[in-house]
Structures are given as C-alpha cells and as structure tokens.
C-alpha cells in the first residue's frame, strides 16, 4: 500500500493557496459588494450620517433646547442652518441629537430580533421533531399578529411602568427596542431553520459529527457560520424597518417624549405647521428617508455579496 493516490498528488504541489483561503471569502464578498454601485454609495451616505450624529453635536455646539421666541419658525439661515421650530429651538442640533437615538434604536432592535431569531431558528432546525413543530407554530402565530396596533398597545400600556423603573429616556428606549425586536424575529427564525435543515445533511457537518464533535460544537463552529449570510442581509433590512417603526410610533405621538427629539418626534411636532414652516418637516423626513434608502441598498448589495451562487451582471 505505498502507492500515492492521484488526489494527494494534485493537492501537494500548491500549498500556498490554502493559507489565504479563509481571508479570501471576505475579500471576495467585499469585491462583490463594491461592484454594486448604489450599495457602495449607500454605505458612504450611511457612514457620513453616523459620523454626523456621533461627532456632530461635539462640533456644532448649539443646545437642542435653547428656546428663543424671537427666532421661532424661521427658515434656514446662517444662525440656524436648518431653521427653527415653534419654540425657536435650532433644528440642526435637534436632528443631529435625534439621529443618535433613531440609529441606536434601529441597530439595537435589529440585534434583539436577530438574537431571538437565530436562537429559535437554530433550536428548531437542530432539535427537530416536537420542538421544531412547536417553535414553528409559535413563529406562524407571531407572523399573523398585526404589528403596529400591537406595538402601539404595548408602548401605551407599559410606558409609565418602565419610565418609573428606568427613567424617562432609558425606559422608553428599552421598551421600544424590546417591542420592535420582539415582533421582528420571525423571518430570521425561518431563514435560520431552513439553513439548518439543509446544512445539517451536508458532508462537512457529517464529517464533524463523524470526528466526534458534540452537537453544540457542530452548531456553533460548522453550521451557524455557514447560515449567517441570509441572516446578515435580513438584519441589515431590519435596521431600516426598526427605524421606520420607531419613527412611526413617535410620529403618532406614542414614542419618545417631546424633550427627546427623535426624527419621528420632530415630524409629529411639525405636521400641524406644514403650511407656514415646511422646512421643519422636510429636514427630519429627508434624514429618515436617506437613512432607510441607504440601508436598503446596503442590504441589496450584501445579498449580492454574500450569496456566492448569485450571478451579478457586469
């Protein structure tokens, strides 16, 4: 038994290929993402937005609650680049500050949704049988809940309780993030379960099982990393959906209190003054629109980038 098999001969001459293989998956994904021009543009716009809301208030040092009745409802000017509201408060400062909260709500709610979704999807896909059946019925049940009415109901009912327990800002933040995240995990759970069902039968997982890897290691090291592509795409779109959900709540007057000017809240205050102060509504609305559009394009680009089988037209 000293004969060398043909496969070994094929593999041995080029060992240097293997050292770069793990990095090149992400290089390839990045290259594919860059080919989606609008996604790249979206990423640039979103990056600019994030920098603006994070660093902006440190550079543009105008207080968000500086009331000046002499300068109320003014359009854009040198003193107030985006104009003022009905109390003469500077809109640029308010939009920069509110953007922090809107973006933070979006990202945190997405993380909640993905964590719950991955956990439930993985449990259903891995444990199969009765657990799978029960979890999928619960997922179906949550999918038929009318989201906004329920969101309104829960925020309304629990707002005072959490406000007392955690303070006005943190309480409302925790509530909104938990409720939005808790009502958006279902698509992720379904995706992850579907991935698990197909990946579980793949040869490399079988190999790991054959080598004696315990179930937890099989899941964490072998199946989950390969199931993450669609989850990342769904997650990016969830950020946009959560931002819209938070803005909708604030726009209906049931989100953050008036002293925390999220973009939706500014729109809520502005909507009755449209005829004589249109700038008040236009700027925060545009901020929401640009953020959501950028995130949606990034999601589209990630979809192209993370699915190696997808053919991208040149």
């Amino acid at each position: 038994m000293t004969t060398v098999t043909p496969t070994e001969q094929l593999v041995t001459p080029r060992p240097e290929k293997r050292t770069t293989s793990s990095a090149s998956v992400w290089d390839e994904a990045f290259r594919r993402f860059r080919r989606h021009r609008l996604a790249t543009l979206g990423a640039a716009v979103l990056f600019a937005m994030v920098v603006a809301v994070v660093a902006g208030p440190a550079i543009y040092r105008v207080p968000i609650d500086d009331i000046d009745f002499k300068a109320k409802l003014r359009g854009p000017s040198w003193a107030h680049p985006l104009g003022t509201d009905d109390l003469g408060q500077d809109l640029l400062a308010r939009i920069l500050y509110g953007g922090r909260i809107s973006l933070a709500v979006g990202v945190t709610a997405m993380l909640v949704a993905i964590t719950v979704g991955v956990a439930i999807g993985a449990a259903a896909g891995q444990l199969a049988g009765v657990v799978d059946h029960a979890l999928m019925r619960i997922t179906d049940l949550f999918l038929s809940l009318p989201q906004l009415p329920l969101l309104l109901l829960m925020v309304y009912l629990f707002r005072d309780l959490l406000r007392k327990a955690l303070g006005p800002e943190v309480g409302v933040f925790v509530l909104i993030v938990a409720v939005i995240g808790g009502l958006r995990w279902m698509p992720v759970a379904r995706l992850v379960r579907a991935q698990f069902l197909s990946l579980r039968e793949k040869e490399f997982v079988e190999a790991a099982r054959g080598l004696g890897a315990p179930p937890l290691r099989q899941v964490v090291r072998h199946i989950l990393p390969n199931a993450m592509g669609p989850v990342i795409v769904a997650g990016s779109l969830d950020v946009a959906a959560a931002i819209i959900a938070e803005s909708s709540l604030s726009f209906l007057g049931l989100g953050f209190p008036p002293d925390i000017p999220t973009w939706g809240r500014i729109l809520f205050d502005a909507k009755d003054n449209l005829d004589f102060a249109p700038h008040w509504a236009l700027f925060p609305g545009t901020a929401i629109f640009l953020t959501v559009l950028s995130i949606n394009y990034i999601g589209d680009g990630l979809r192209d980038a993370l699915d190696p089988r997808r053919i991208i037209p040149r």
Binding site: L38, R137, D140, L141, L143, S144, L145, P146, Q147, L148, P149, L150, L152, L153, M154, Y156, L157, F158, D160, L161, A240, I244, S247, S248, F251, L252, G253, L254, G264, L267, A270, K271, L274, D275, P278, A281, L282, G285, I288, F289, V292, L293, N296, Y297, D300, P313
Partner: protein, 319 residues
Amino acid sequence: MSKYFIRRLLISVPVLLGISLILFTILALAPGDPFEELATNANVPAEVRQNLRAKFGLDDPVPVRYARWFTSMVRGDWGFSFVSRVDVETLILQRLPTTIIVLGTAQLLGILVALPIGTLSAMRPYSIFDQVATTLAFVGFSLPTFFTGLLFILFFSVYLDWLPFIYRADISATGVQWYWHHVRQAIMPVAVLGLFQGASLTRFVRSAVLDVIQLDYITTARAKGLSEKTTIVKHAVRNALIPVLTLVALQVPAIFTGAVITEQIFRVPGVGSLLISSILANDTPVIMAITFVFSCLVVLFNLIADLLYGWLDPRISYR
C-alpha cells in the same frame, strides 16, 4: 378541495386562540386601570368603586376573565366604550367601511402599478427602463408613509391647493357633487398607500416574472410562433402571479400599519384613527377589539391566499 378548505379553516382556529391569548396576557400584565378616573375623583365613594369592580368582574382571576372575554368576543358582544358611550361593535362597524374602501382602492392601485411595470422590467432586465423602475421602486418603499403623506399635503394641498387634506365624513353636497367630493378627498390617502404597496410589489412581480421567463415552456411558446404579447401575458405572467399572490396576502399586516398612519395624517374617520384616539383616551375595550379585528383579518387573508394558491397551482396537493 372542500376537505382542504376545512383543514385550513381548522388550522386558523388555534391561531386565533393564540392571538387572543397573547392580546389578553398583554392587557392583564399592564398596569392601567379602567376605573382610574373614578379612583381619583373624590366625589365617588370607595364602596361604589368596589361595587363597580365586582360588577364588571375586574377582580376575578385572569383565566376566568380571559374565558369571559373570549366567549363574548366570539358572540359579537365586544363591550362598551368608556369614552364614546356606545357599544364597541357599533363604533367599529361605523368606521370599518371607510377603512376597507380606502385600503381596497389603495391595494388595487398598487397592483395596477406593480403588474405592468414589474413585467416590463423583467422582460428587459438591466435595460434603462428596468433600472429607472427598480430605482423608483427602491425609493418608493424606502419612503415611510408618514413622510410621503406630509409631502403630498405640502405639494397638493398647501402649494397647489388642489386637494383637501382633511377627510370629511359629513359632506353636505348631494348627487354627483357628493361623489366628486368623496373621490377628491380620498385621492391622497389612497395614492400614498397605493404607491407604497406598488413599490414593494413591483420588485416581487419583477423577480417572479424573471424566474418564469427563463423556463423552457416559454421558449416553446415562442418557438411555436405565439406573439410576444400572448407568450408574456398568457404564459409567463399567469404563472408568475402565483408567488406574488401569496406575498400580497402576507403583506396584509403591513398594509394595516400603513392604514393606521395614513388615516392619522389625513384624518380619515376609519378604524386606524379610531385605534389611535382610543389609545390616547385609555379606552381599553375599543383598543382590544380593534387589535382583535385586525388579527382576524390577517388570518382571513392568509386563508384566502392559501385557497387561491391551491386553485392557481394544481401541483399543490389538497392533503
């Protein structure tokens, strides 16, 4: 087919039970008290309050209250609105037609926009038309309805002064004039909702047609000399509609979200704006009933989609 229908219908029952259970649990856990107003009113003695609580069974254990609430919901007795002083079912039935008309028209508009544009896009993928349409669709569903609504008001009501931005139920004009007023005030809410729906549907239609159009039977249809129009309309689009239909039904919850917001912006006297005003007025029976009605509608539309799916696609077995 009827066996399939009954099976689907039976599956909806536990879903409805589950939804009602979730709704009731949320309410039972919440700290609010419908008699709070009486509690703070010094003129109402404590025993009156106690008697009222006992009369409405507010101090009974939660499972008992759930059973009572669910049976009366099913019987059509949805309770009494504390604020409006009328029965909840009367209140909701008053508002429901407006919501259904606005939503239905908007959904129709969405489909009428999405079908031709999505199909044309898929026929010439990556052409100029496709790129413009796809970009507009992307912009369309990235624009939240509350912002589009404000933009429409700003442009068509404030700037151009063409359309009224407040929806009125009590229009005094008669005859043709009456219809004209109703159509005019419905244009903006319907357009805002319909274009948003149309934008996301366009993408579904495009990808569904794109999937079908590459199949062999389309090539066969072309090869046997059918005109391009017949090939597309009778062979491709018909089959592409099957997955699109499911998506339309699955989007029903999202449409309600849009309806609540548009009704609030344009002050349409529908169920959505009733929900908001009830929440602001702490009118619990109305809130519960509306959320329950929305859930029932979602389950109903899922059922309809399942049935239509089975009817359109003979490969689905009626197990």
